[in-house]
Symmetry: C2
Subunit: 229 residues, 2 copies
DNA sequence: AGCTCGCCTGATCGATCTATAAAGGATCTT
DNA sequence: AAGATCCTTTATAGATCGATCAGGCGAGCT
């Protein structure tokens, strides 16, 4: 119709915008799929948000399903960029320090890519083909790798003997959830999870909670108890 | 069509089944809304799952929206049954014990009513009228009450000075998430979150993690470190 | 200039969506 | 036995869904 928004902004350069349109559609799809789930998302709304017509979505992406998979692959690329090779980079550290870095990175990733947690919650709840496909891409094996690291640390004696799959799930949940339920955090607590200060505070809180607990244990005056505002 | 399933089971008694149908629709709606979100759910699928025809859904509930609200109200009733008056019941305990009981109850509620966490994640991500309505029913104020309890404990010196809204969010997330992403826990870790043993293990893990942390702190041989299988 | 190729749009199809209308049948009242 | 009431169904309206198709338009090649 009338929404083309920035055609004029690009000016008379007349450069290709095929890539441009495709990217806009992908970005719009990410928002839509993350906030309404697969079934609740319509290609028409994606197109509207991207400022293109609905058939163009099917020109660039064969089907709604393929668009979803492409969207998720982009998210997984971002995850790869954040976590890829991190274990090699941290190979000099002991298990505990390794875990701390990983947890902070997980919080950071969740804050910058809350859509991942949302899609995971959405698909992880009901199962089905899309979940199987998603997990088969790699995150399942990476999750198990994280569990193995926890178990190594436990065998080493630096972590308590806990069911590490549960621990991993708890850490993942605590890291991601506040960013997943963005609007609720704002409404209930008045917290803006996009605020970098808030992200730091959350990372500090998660690390402190999971590594040392929230209880003040007698007289142990640990050093790094920096609970931000 | 042909799905009436249990008409014969009821036998010749000829009792009213209006209540029966209504309840079946509500139960079906709960499953559907929780697993596909509001937009992704169709009244036809709810009817199919309940074994009734689609117009009957609109006979018992004015609209899809009203059906959603009624469904959520039922969930909130269950929450009220689990948490209502619990603070009075625990008024003799100190803050730390109070919190431990509350956390265990939260895990239990999340395990028996995973739909609540799913709907909360779904609506809490995107905001909007339904989220506002949901929060206005009461859970927002109860969440703040929980935060206040945490803050009291901190002022008393038994908890560390942490941003308690974050702590509350972490506890809620860690308690509920494994049950929310039921299918994913099964696929990735092979854990069946419906197993009572697993629920207990999770409660133990959450309490241990949040109160004392997962790190083995020097020589402190705490008593209650019962990490299940 | 004419042709081709890639990007994009308008028109539209069949399926499915929420919701309504009309009527069938069981039960109860009188 | 007739009528009223409640629960339920079939039929269907009007909107919207994912997807297809034919055509338009601009850039680049010949």
């Amino acid at each position: 119709m009338a929404q083309r928004a920035d055609e004029a902004v690009r000016g008379s350069k007349g450069e290709h915008d095929s890539e441009r349109s495709r990217d806009r559609i992908l970005a719009a799809a990410l928002e839509e799929f993350a906030s309404k789930g697969f079934e609740g998302t319509t290609t028409a709304e994606i197109a509207r948000r991207a400022g293109v017509t609905q058939p163009l979505v099917h020109y660039h992406f064969e089907s709604k399903d393929e668009l979803w998979r492409t969207t998720v692959l982009h998210l997984l690329d971002a995850a790869e960029a954040t976590f890829g090779g991190v274990l090699a980079e941290l190979s000099d550290l002991d298990h505990l320090d390794k875990l701390k870095v990983l947890v902070r990175r997980l919080v950071y990733f969740s804050a910058t890519h809350p859509e991942f947690g949302r899609i995971l919650a959405y698909e992880g709840a009901k199962g089905g083909e899309r979940l199987s496909w998603l997990l088969a891409q790699q995150p399942a094996s990476e999750a198990r790798l994280f569990v193995e690291l926890l178990e190594s640390a436990a065998q080493e004696g630096v972590l308590k003997p806990l069911p590490m799959a549960h621990v991993a799930a708890c850490i993942g949940a605590a890291s991601a959830y506040v960013f997943v339920i963005r609007e609720m955090m704002r409404t209930v607590y008045g917290i803006d999870v996009d605020d970098p200060t808030v992200i730091d505070a959350h990372a500090n809180t998660v690390v402190e909670l999971f590594f040392h607990g929230m209880t003040v244990e007698d007289a142990s005056a640990r050093s790094g108890t920096k609970g931000a505002a």
